[in-house]
Symmetry: C2
Subunit: 357 residues, 2 copies
């Protein structure tokens, strides 16, 4: 019960001294996992209050080899999709007392590697990663032993845990929607084809054409890079084509914004002269109602369940973290979520004069 020394922040030692017990007992009180007599508990709690003691999580982490922290690496959090994902992650993590270390890779391979190194060095309990560099993960993962859950993007044949959207199906349905409306010349603006999301969407588009016995016009398949400018450029080029397509599928949210700009600039009426369908809402999905309904025209989109992707990724990761043994091989670590087709006003039947094909 000696007077506490003057410090900025007190330790269990100080609390113990003030309460007249040992640090082990203070620890027992703090963690509540061992039995301590009520009278002692009270004494310790008083001491803690008196000193405004807060246990040092860093020291604890060192000792128990667990940081109660997960790292998240996203390629870009300007995109509405990743913001939704992030919200899902944060909510799931917070619910179980985990903190989130946020890293932005800017879609840059080196940044991503640096971030992963930093996260491992900081001994996060697990990592959520939307990787820019699909082929270098195995490496990082194998070396570290830290659980990793990939989301959104997954290397072909990846055997680890991952949460993705069924992009083939999403794209198929988007394309199919246009075909069902009567479109025969449908164009596609693809994303970075080295990413699974982009190639899957391209594949869905291809299959939908195939199933409808429509030819795949090479000029209608454009390579974008998931950035708005490429939506704009490819949009312009498509609109200027002699045989202009009657409909365009645009394979992500921000490229769709670029495409819209091109359409406005060229004074092409949508959906009268051209139908367009986008991927993702162009802004976070969380306002209670969606921004797309305010766009000119109201956008038909295939919306990915971003929040759900985040939530399930985090939950999967936290499950892996809490299992010390390797998860049984028979349970599939790949979770696939379905996107939702939201038909609004940017898609309609093509005008009667069918363009030459």
């Amino acid at each position: 019960m000696s007077p506490p020394p003057k410090k900025r922040s007190y330790t269990m030692r100080d609390v113990a001294r003030l309460a007249g017990v040992s640090v082990a007992t203070v620890s027992a009180v703090v963690n509540g996992k061992q039995v301590v007599r009520p009278v002692v508990v009270a004494r310790v709690q008083d001491a803690m209050k008196a000193l405004n003691f807060h246990p040092d999580h860093v020291a604890r982490s060192l000792r128990v080899k667990k940081t109660t922290t997960i790292g998240v690496v996203v390629p870009d959090f300007s995109s509405g999709f990743f913001v939704d994902v992030l919200r899902g992650i944060e909510d799931a993590a917070r619910n179980v007392g985990y903190s989130v270390l946020l890293c932005n890779s800017d879609d840059d391979v080196e940044q991503e590697q640096r971030h992963l190194k930093a996260l491992l060095s900081r001994r996060v309990d697990g990592i959520l990663l939307a990787s820019t560099d699909l082929y270098s993960i195995a490496d990082t993962q194998l070396r570290s032993g830290t659980p990793i859950v990939l989301f959104d993007r997954v290397p072909p044949g990846y055997r680890g845990a991952a949460v993705v959207v069924d992009n083939v199906d999403a794209s198929y349905r988007a394309t199919r929607h246009l075909i069902d409306l009567g479109h025969r010349s449908v164009a596609f603006i693809a994303g970075r084809l080295d990413l699974s999301t982009a190639s899957d969407r391209a594949e869905g588009f291809r299959r939908a054409l195939e199933d409808a016995h429509l030819p795949l016009n090479g000029a209608y398949f454009r390579r974008g890079d998931f950035h708005p400018e490429s939506g704009y450029q490819n949009g312009l080029e498509l609109l200027r084509l002699q045989n202009r397509p009657t409909a365009i599928v645009c394979s992500n949210g921000v490229m769709t914004l670029g495409l819209l700009r091109a359409i406005h600039e060229q004074h092409v009426r949508c959906p009268e002269e051209i139908s367009i369908i986008g991927f993702d809402e162009p802004a976070p999905d969380s306002y209670g109602f969606n921004l797309s309904t305010l766009l000119r025209p109201e956008l038909t989109v295939v919306a990915q369940p971003g929040y759900e992707v985040g939530k399930q990724s985090a939950q999967t990761l936290l499950r892996l973290v809490s299992e010390d043994h390797e998860p049984p091989a028979d349970q599939n670590p790949l979770i696939t979520l379905q996107a939702e087709l939201r038909v609004r006003k940017s898609t309609a039947a093509p005008s009667s004069q069918t363009p030459t094909q």
Copy 2:
């Protein structure tokens, strides 16, 4: 030079053993702050490579009492503004090797307190906070000794470091823009008036009217809560008013979306029948071009420099962190940034028939 024991992750001890030196020397090599003979450096580095050694940042943090991590508490990262801020923070932090612990308070006072406690417990080097509860900060701050920089929202008379936008001026200019166009009956949809941002914007509105010798019609001053639904409801009520205003200033981004919906639903033409000006872009500012230009109508807004707010907040905080002594009192710790008026198509001169005032 004994063979390394099998472990998941190796320590300096292992590296030292393998390299035939002491841990102190390994530490010296890792940190490069003391002179070590090149031949020894090489031996140590080889050993590190061989074991795939990565220093344990947790242990380091404990010893040096520094985590190279800052905590960020935002009320909501669905809003485009905070996403921009976050990007600014992340960029600034990453540039100097800091990590970011992200917390979402959901504009809930208890969440915020919990997050702050957690961050202090985790011994972050500093905290960036957009506080929901302006009057309980002093407490947390004084007790902890951890540097805190407030951003976006600041309690009146706050004496600590903060980075804010000049909301009075921003709102003044928005209102002034409408008055200059000839509007005489201008309405205002306010946010949560307990927040400095909201009350400052209300004040700017008030002053602009006053300077123009226009009366402040009570029915034209609406209290919202910064959420889209309140923009919608207040919008509806304003539009249904007998003396409908000819222009509306809406004091944040998502409420403006709600207001837009109300306008569409009521089939009120904008800007012909009503001019509106919003605060913030309704989505992140980072696409290279802005979403507002695609809205129907293209929105005139007062855009806050979100990225800059984030960047300067982080830089200010990191400066505080690196100074061990208290900063001199004579330098003003309050940074005020100016918003930018972006005139687009949702504002125009009122129609000739002046409504009864």
